[in-house]
Symmetry: C2
Subunit: 528 residues, 2 copies
């Protein structure tokens, strides 16, 4: 596939305006062809007008047609073959194995949503039949189901060029719900975006879906991104990125004449609490798992464990000793782009220069800036310093973590109580530890979206039970997940039909249940 660098508006293209850029290969420090042009204001307007007019057609397609469409998107992405993987490797600096895995996850979650839509029960259909002889007033016939909101704007994420970008989780869940999608591509991987976007365009045409159900725009976040969020036809926004970027979009969306929800997932420190039994019984194993989790994807995951808390003592010292060796031996690796590497270096410098913080170890090899490389770091400090140094509560995006030694269980609970919202918290311990630290669990339940026992937060399982999200500032909407089938709810709203004849009701709400979905009928769940 020869890249053209244009914006994809519906099934067509648009040349865009004055702003242009090239992708950058962080592994070799060079720009790549072609030139991409940023969308104009008129492109923004056209893509959303097309999306709005496609909406009513698209949302009324049968569940089976929508599922077929999603499956075709997955197949078209696979059909891009190694061209996609190679372009993506060049644009992201990520290794082939990781991107093959990420592609598998991407098409896997699209197919998961296809299956969810085909099953159909996700709409939470409810029927209360009329009781015409009820006193003092007759009870009307009332029926409820979820319906899609309308056009959704999705921002591609720097750190997941496939799974959280053009055809990533937000796009898949929005399309599954019945919402058209306009994607703002991330400039770091504009070529990957174009390839995936064109695969979706092909699926739109081949599936007979309405023109406008998908568009893809390039451009600056502050210009094109803001214009997309401000556009009156936009109904919701999905974003994965920095706290600063996410909050800006949230503020723009909240101050619209007609506010809209923003699902911004903004990363976090993902604190890990290692309890005495685990330290004693398997300190080395914990250190190995931690080092692996911190370094996975060069630490460029929202779920990277950036904070570790344990009780002071020989066992914790021994873990630190083990980590010293492991981190010294960590190979340097290429980060996604120079901006991220610079931010990482600045974050590391800030932690390192904080009074009371010591460096336990850093990767001993010299990081090559030409290859956009980062060196892994592990730091250590005490509770007092941690609680009194605001800087240490901020995420350093990259392969680093901070060990905090606590003098007591109370210390540990105090740190937990002071935490802001995070995506995850992890506890390592024996079952006895868990019982002894049950107050810690209670505290953490209020701070995070996912609690992990004896595992690591990286490697988010895509399934019905997953929650990837958390209280602010982990996300702008802690009610909702961006991973797993429950993500479909973020792009829906309730719709109630009262007194409607059978023929005018959506099939999900007709008495004879033609779709055989699970429903709550007069208070009883059934599939009948």
């Amino acid at each position: 596939m020869e890249l053209h660098g244009k914006n994809l508006i519906g099934i067509g293209t648009a040349d865009g305006g004055d702003y242009s850029f090239k992708s950058y290969n962080p592994s070799v420090g060079m720009e790549m062809d072609p030139v991409f042009t940023g969308a104009t204001e008129s492109d923004v307007d056209t893509s959303l007008s097309l999306a709005a007019s496609a909406f009513d057609v698209y949302r009324r397609k049968s569940a089976s047609d929508r599922a077929d469409f999603l499956e075709r998107i997955a197949a078209e992405i696979e059909a891009l073959g190694e061209d996609l993987i190679h372009r993506c490797m060049a644009e992201s600096g990520l290794p082939e194995a990781r991107l093959l895995g990420e592609r598998g996850r991407t098409v896997g979650q699209i197919r998961m949503f296809a299956a969810l839509v085909r099953d159909g029960s996700w709409v939470d259909a409810r029927i209360d039949h009329a009781l015409l002889d009820r006193a003092p007033l007759p009870k009307p016939d009332v029926r409820l189901m979820l319906m899609p909101m309308g056009p959704v704007v999705v921002f591609g994420a720097s750190n997941f060029p496939l799974a959280f970008s053009v055809a990533g989780g937000d796009t898949a869940s929005a399309l599954a719900a019945g919402c058209p999608v306009v994607v703002k591509a991330h400039r770091s991987h504009a070529g990957t975006a174009e390839m995936v976007g064109r695969a979706i365009q092909k699926a739109v045409s081949d599936s007979g879906m309405p023109d406008g159900v998908f568009s893809l725009l390039h451009g600056q976040g502050r210009v094109v991104g803001t214009a997309l969020v401000k556009h009156p036809l936009t109904r919701a926004v999905g974003f994965t990125g920095s706290l600063k970027g996410g909050r800006e979009l949230f503020d723009v969306a909240s101050s619209r004449p007609s506010p809209i929800p923003v699902y911004a997932e903004m990363g976090s420190l993902n604190p890990v609490f290692v309890l005495p039994g685990a330290l004693r019984e398997r300190g080395d194993q914990f250190a190995e798992g931690l080092c692996q989790s911190v370094n996975l994807g060069v630490g460029q995951f929202c779920t990277n464990p950036g904070l570790v808390l344990g009780l002071d003592g020989d066992d914790l010292d021994s873990v630190k000793g083990k980590l010293e060796g492991l981190f010294s031996d960590s190979p340097n690796a290429t980060m996604l782009n120079p901006g991220i590497r610079e931010a990482y270096d600045a974050g590391i410098a800030a932690v390192q220069s904080s009074a009371g913080v010591t460096l336990v170890a850093r990767a001993s090899a010299e990081a090559d800036p030409q290859k956009t490389q980062a060196a892994a770091h592990v730091f250590s400090t005490d509770v007092e310093t941690f609680l009194n140094t605001e800087q240490l509560a901020h995420e350093v995006f990259g392969p680093s973590t901070l060990m905090v030694g606590c003098r007591s269980k109370e210390d540990m609970e105090k740190v937990a109580r002071g935490l802001e919202g995070h995506l995850t918290a992890t506890i390592h311990g024996t079952e006895k530890d868990l019982a002894e630290f049950s107050d810690l669990v209670t505290i953490l339940e209020n701070k995070v979206g996912r609690l992990i026992f004896n595992g690591f937060p990286t490697g988010v399982e895509v399934c019905a039970s997953m929650h990837h999200g958390g209280p602010y500032p982990a996300s702008t909407d802690g009610r909702s997940t961006s991973v797993g089938t429950a993500a479909i709810f973020r792009f829906t709203r309730l719709m109630c039909y009262q007194g409607f004849p059978q023929s005018a009701l959506p099939r999900e709400l007709q008495d004879d249940n033609p779709l055989k979905i699970w429903r709550l009928v007069d208070g009883e769940y059934s599939q009948g």
Copy 2:
């Protein structure tokens, strides 16, 4: 019960600060004892600190204990007997029959939530078991359920002194979900608020619920209300009232350092489309139903039908003729308070003075300002005038409606397409009409939360299938309902447990399903 006029902080009281006021009896135009004192900033802080410390205890109470508590609240409200009804009649000007009905609805919906909590399936529990031998990576054990958000602030509504106030829908759904509640009483019915609040205090004590699970504060919305919404421990807000008031709270909540959701339900015009078949077959019956719906509760419902669209012609003229008689004969009635009556009069004056609008009829008796009375009005205009007069798209809160004559189906669709978000839209017609106007249905589905066929929007049924909410500006969060069991979702968020041993899991997520709730286990719904 002798009223003391104090704020209720947990199970105690607080004298409040400098601001004080008395309730006003709109039927006789006189103030009533006692003096109520507004809460201080310190009262706000104490009530939320108590709520936050009660939260972890309360949310971990068994579902059965929480249900018992809700049922005890309902019983204590009933035990207030006619004292409550009489005070409420005096403070609201509403007649006894309406308030007996509203009390029935209030305790009915509290008991409905008790039953929902006792049943337990609402938590949407999901379990994905581990697959340790999955390649390339083992699948972890992941479990998901809804958990309560934390302290919720609820604003009492002027127009529902019982069903949307101290122990109203938002309080009931928040308590059911497991959230402590701090209510800001509406000053129009502060005595009613105190009585219901003290009933809840008694239920808290008698049920052994933690102190702080409920508080009730008096004071000015701009001062006490804003302070409650800004307080860092507040996690969500429920409000029913004006667009201006709701938007202000939304803006305060969105600009917090840590933003929180605001569920503000702000009323709407609730357009009614009367199609040719209905006009022809049962115009008189339609007119009677409309007049009754417009005048119900002196038009002081968010679901009041304020806009009626029909095709020009003899049939529509005949409906207007019928309405002329019906509205002329409408008795004047007391509105909730002088502020609302003044706003109604101002709204009527603005409509009446709009070029192109004619008065079809008004209640012929003189409204008595001493009795805070309002006169019912029905106006008429044409499509052009309606589309070009912004004023006409605004709700006039009270017993009035505006008939818009359309020349064609296209006219009607044009008006529908131009609508902002509304709580409801209603269609009167034959099934043949409905088939012919199917595009109208499609348009309206995107504009409202509830579509009614051959009924009227007033009289919101409280059940599992109800949706009371709608796209902005009908509400600040069109995803969510304030009536019916689905209202419990507004005060919840997702919580995921990964790799947890059985003994440390909430009972809802344990393998043996001790609560016998419906769950999604490895992709299959079951109660086993």
